[in-house]
Symmetry: C2
Subunit: 363 residues, 2 copies
């Protein structure tokens, strides 16, 4: 009998480094970033054709103000979520995992939860489904999916793999958050480290046990917020007062780094976290001169640029290694090497105008 | 008794190098380019407070499709033109000068015409009026205003000054169109060359004589186009069929290079031809880091840039010597050193889409 999985899709994060496309009203998971479907649509469809798995209707967990856009985007792809859990504000991934475990426990205690960020790309969904099936063999663990590094990325979390558990699933030896370049290079060379893809597979029972044991404040606040939630159709609005008592802590810190049930299964499915404009360039399809373009763009002597238009003509002359972005709200221009500093620019604008003016500055 | 002058304002040229601000529907003379008033408004007001001159109501000569915007912009500054002559299409400045002479001959044959491009800036209008008064002393000549070069510009026309005529007015020894850099440097060093500011002072009688003698086809076609013009209020629409027979030739080529009545008077009035985005940077008021900005702009580590927004937020990180322009129609990004190539970009876009799409590509 195939394993039953419940996809739980986390719509968190503001995607500040993808300003001005990503805004508080429409963060990056609700944008297509070059594909046909938005990232959250791709995520909702990721396991749709999975072989060897029985895939239940997904649960979405998102900010309350994204209910309409989430509903609309799911309807567009013919996806009917089992529930859309609405957070009054973000409390990080530990609260999300606890909420997911409680929901799944009520829906189908024998199912496994696949907890997935909504803003990643996976070019090979069949390989993703195989990785989930592999991970499901270690159902008494909380299994992360880990990606073999292809570059010494300093913006990702790394997992050092430990002892073999079952098949290719291994225990986690340790977690490393955003190493410096030298460390990242050493990790990559060693072959013992994987990128933390932020995807978790676990049974509700194990997560509830571990959360209550290792992060009791999170467990208690999330349980209270869900039990007092307002329900309307598939929408479940967590109780804000109870949720406010929940510590804002990641699942990694709250549980994974403490539990002896942390495991990791390999993922080789064309995974990408499009966290910045330079990542969008790296993951894009370049022309002969290395330019990745979107929308009506006119290039004259441009090389290795990302030129992204949401609709209006963007003319570019004599640029190398640059990023040019045009949206309905704003324009952004910078060298690719400065892509991480978009966050800084947005924070400065927010400090100045408190998000009331201009290009929908992230909150 | 003061000299009477009739300002004739030429609204020609498409300002292609200022795309996307300058478009066929609203070329650069109808834009403010950073000031309070548009360039054509500044031109219409240039002689308004002139001392020692009797200034008649101006005549505008513009393309027929700019009638509404020209009327609106004149009304905005309380200027009532004596006439707005509408060209069905451009036939260069010889046709304009002939038309102006015919109009002035009918209005006031003793007045002198000040023929002025509508897209230049003059920071000191009083000095401009003094230059006109000086030039008026040589009323049996066609007098150009010449600007002492401050840089070896290769995009301007140069005038080599000849024998003294009256006061500082001198005969023209020869004209040089757009010299190469070495020649421009030599001209500047010699002290014998002035930039051709494109401003002409002449009596209708002399212009009619010289045009009929030296460019009879222009004289005949322009005269016919005006005599058959359709008049409606102050608007005078030249007859298209007759005007089509007019050779498209500049006043410099048709008359000035052939006549022995060419003269030049010095102009030292903060004259600037804002022909390109780099000129707008040069003529702008920079911040401490050399950046000239317009509109809602957020700069992070930018130096010596022009960042021009027509309304939406433009964020810039880590740029040097760059131009970034945002209008309602389009976005343009390029190094300042490539400012002349905007024309090339626009021509390429026009070839592709024939001006039917995108940012109002110039025709």
């Amino acid at each position: 009998m195939p394993v039953t999985v419940i996809p739980v899709i986390i719509s968190g994060g503001s995607g500040t480094r993808l300003w001005p496309l990503s805004t508080p009203d429409q963060p990056k998971q609700f944008h297509a970033l070059g594909g046909e479907q938005t990232l959250i649509q791709q995520t909702a469809l990721r396991l749709a054709d999975a072989e060897g798995l029985s895939v239940a209707a997904p649960i979405l967990i998102c900010n309350y103000r994204h209910l309409d856009i989430a509903r609309a985007q799911m309807a567009q792809i013919g996806c009917a979520p089992a529930a859309i859990v609405l957070e009054p504000f973000g409390r990080n991934t530990a609260a999300v995992a606890m909420t997911a475990a409680l929901m799944a426990q009520a829906l189908d205690p024998d199912a496994l939860i696949v907890l997935m960020p909504s803003d990643h790309r996976v070019s090979d969904p069949a390989a993703f489904a195989r990785a989930v099936t592999t991970a499901a063999a270690a159902r008494d663990h909380i299994v992360l999916l880990g990606v073999k590094p292809t570059a010494p990325e300093t913006g990702f979390g790394y997992i050092e793999v430990g002892a073999p558990l079952t098949g290719p699933v291994r225990a986690v030896a340790r977690f490393v958050e955003k190493p410096d370049l030298a460390a990242a290079q050493a990790y990559m060379a060693s072959g013992r480290y994987l990128w933390n893809a932020g995807v978790f597979l676990f049974s509700p029972k194990i997560m509830l046990e571990e959360m209550r044991r290792l992060a009791p404040q999170v467990a208690e606040a999330a349980e209270k917020a869900l039990s007092r939630a307002q329900r309307s159709g598939e929408a479940i609005a967590l109780d804000a007062e109870a949720f406010a008592d929940c510590p804002s802590i990641s699942l990694d810190y709250a549980v994974m780094e403490k539990t002896d049930r942390a495991a990791v299964a390999p993922l080789d499915a064309g995974w990408a976290d499009i966290g910045s404009w330079s990542a969008l360039w790296s993951e894009g399809t370049p022309d002969d001169l290395g330019n990745v373009v979107n929308g009506p763009v006119e290039l004259l002597d441009a090389t290795d640029c990302l030129v992204w238009s949401q609709g209006k003509t963007v003319g570019v002359i004599g640029l190398n290694d640059m990023i040019v972005v045009q949206t309905d709200d704003a324009v952004l221009v910078l060298p690719r090497s400065r892509a991480q500093d978009v966050k800084l620019l947005v924070e400065r604008m927010k400090a100045k105008n408190d998000g009331t003016k201009g290009g929908g500055v992230n909150e």
